[in-house]
Amino acid sequence: MRSSRLSPRLPLAVALIVSLASCGVGGAKSAGGAETPSGDPILIGHFGSMTGSEATFGQSTDNGIRLAIKEFNATGGLKGKKVELKTYDDQGKSQEAGTAVTRLITSDKVVAVLGEVASSLSLAGGRVAQQYGVPMISPSSTNPTVTQIGDMVFRVCFLDPFQGWVAAKFARENLKAEKAAVLYDQAQAYSKGLMDAFDKAFKEMGGTITTVQAYTGGDQDFSAQLTTIRQTNPDVIFVPGYYTDAGNVSIQVRKLGLTAPLLGGDGWDSAKLAEIGGSSIEGSYYTNHYSHQNPAPEVQNFVTKYKTDYGQTPDGLAALGYDAARLLFDAMGRAPALDGKSLAAAIAATKDFAGVTGKITIDAQRNAKKAAVVLEMKNGAPAYVTTIEPPQ
């Protein structure tokens, strides 16, 4: 009995020693990387959901960033120095996002961080970046609170109050909807923010919100909420969630015999939406940052290059990743030094930067003011419907 009690401790001790030793090696490595000799590449970091139910968000953004870096390095980089990207997967979880940014800053010593798509994750990562004084640009987090973290956090996309307003305006003016029902994800700051904005704007424009229902991201059964929505007989159903859930919702909406179109936000922007939703998502609309059908030469140029490199049509998140990286390089070129303070000041001074998602001017709240497009799901792909400019 005694020996059997003792024996489990031996492997444990061995494991402990091994793990301590490997820790030591890892520590030494990162300490060596800290003294960056001149001529070494400049490191920037990206944290994104490369896996998980929002995986295409991270992957598209990463592709966009890598394309921008490739072009930047091909034109000589920053004063002869090449830029390199370090990407960490946060699996779509806030605790992982915080860890990823900490690792990028403390262990990899990046000069700036790009990310995330989901607002909840940008909030987690942004707090870390702010704490260490390293500038962070979120390519596509639209919740207002993200840039309120502090003077190190920026974004290159529009905000949810605007996006919700666009959705409401489109529903009222283009779809002529009188009554709208809402089904939002109560676990996402993004979804809640968009719901609030839509609710407010739609009522101001003279419409009625028949019911507001909630689900939790990842739910598979929406029948209870949708049955309630069906009873109120709405003209349009606003579903400001992410694409996996929106796809699942659309299947059950049609199964219940509801015919009203669904309306969503930029969280729908993924090729997976059509794949999961199939025929159920046809004829539904969502607001987005850009359309790949925009005939402007800089957009078509980007679409062609992206297609050559990755073999697929860039979605809005790829375009925003591309813009965020290029805006960062522009600021790096203007900044006198690459420390956090100088770089943040240079990013804040960005004015009329020509991105593929529109002209970007960073305002005093570190946000970008831009127009939004509305897309319709047609034959399994988003088709351009209209552009809605911000109110003057």
């Binding site: 896996t51 295409t56 939790t216």
Partner: protein, 300 residues
């Protein structure tokens, strides 16, 4: 109607928990992963057979074929898990087996996410049965898919009930569950019976996975966040019915399905998980051995 369909799926999963508990007195935490695996294997086979999303309606036998194939695959996985992970620990303290089960569960979850298995992207299960509305009364729609799910689940449960209470093998299983060492003395091959229990439980979970994928065709990945919760609810069903009791598990599953669906429909959908787990607490307080369970003095 949703309550019947979802409830019978819970019951199918709960059977696996309860059978393993009955024979080995431990909770197989990897069981809900077998359920998820069942859904993904069904998806892989369906896509492999060329039933794409937009394709024509596949023939009826395709669904049966996929169901049987998924059950066989998961049965084999269940057998392997028992053989490699649990059998070497047959004489070890129960806690060790329990921790191993959690390890197996994590292993299955993460291996499933690898590129050469199912990847990390959500997928759409091709529809194998046409989703027609058969009948409508008082605002309730009866969907073919729901009816098929409940029907197949019920049929499998009847087969299982017959197997356990009417055959020699079933008698051997009950004997092992009653007292392993005495059963061994009576000439029953205990290891074979335990292996069979795992194969049976795993294939039932696979059937549940297949039917779930039919009903909710958007398969989430990574699955652990949402699907494992379903497995957990099935475990609750097993406990409510009286863990170790086959008919109790069936009853518990249906009960949980109804509580969840009615709670979501008539009270508030935001709290659907809370109803299930409150019922668990209630049952544990009032009747700790479950609705159909017998109070057994703990052998120490």
């Amino acid at each position: 109607m949703d309550g019947v369909a979802v409830g019978s799926l819970y019951a199918l999963i709960a059977l696996g928990y309860t059978m393993v508990y009955g024979t080995l007195q431990f909770i197989n935490f990897a069981h809900s992963d077998i359920f998820v695996l069942g859904a993904w294997v069904s998806y892989t086979i369906a896509v492999g057979l060329g039933y794409a999303l937009a394709g024509t309606q596949p023939p009826l036998y395709a669904g049966v074929l996929i169901l049987v194939a998924a059950m066989a695959t998961c049965g084999a996985v269940g057998f392997t898990v028992e053989r490699l992970a649990y059998r070497p620990l047959r004489k070890a303290p129960r806690l060790n087996v329990l921790i191993t089960a959690i390890g197996v569960s994590l292993f299955l979850q993460n291996v499933g996410q690898l590129k050469w298995f199912f990847g990390t992207q959500p997928q759409r299960m091709p529809s194998l049965i046409e989703d027609t509305i058969l009948a409508r009364f008082a605002g309730v729609q009866v969907h073919l898919v729901d009816l098929a799910a409940a029907g197949i689940a019920l049929a499998l449960m009847l087969v299982l009930d017959w197997l356990i209470f009417r055959t020699r093998l079933g008698r051997a299983m009950r004997a092992v569950s009653h007292d392993t060492s005495v059963a061994a003395l009576m000439g029953i091959n205990v290891d074979a019976v335990i292996s069979f229990t795992f194969v049976l439980g795993s294939s039932l979970a696979a059937a549940a996975g297949f039917l779930y994928a039919m009903k909710y065709p958007g398969l989430n990945q990574p699955a652990h966040a949402t699907w494992v919760l379903l497995g957990l609810k099935a475990f609750v069903a097993a406990v409510i019915g009286g863990i170790g009791n086959i008919r109790g598990a069936m009853l518990g599953g249906i009960l949980i399905g109804f509580i969840e669906m009615f709670g979501a429909a008539y009270l508030s959908p935001h709290l659907r998980d809370i109803y299930v787990f409150s019922i668990l607490i209630l049952v544990l307080l009032v009747r700790p051995s479950g609705v159909l369970g017998q109070a057994v003095a703990e052998k120490v």
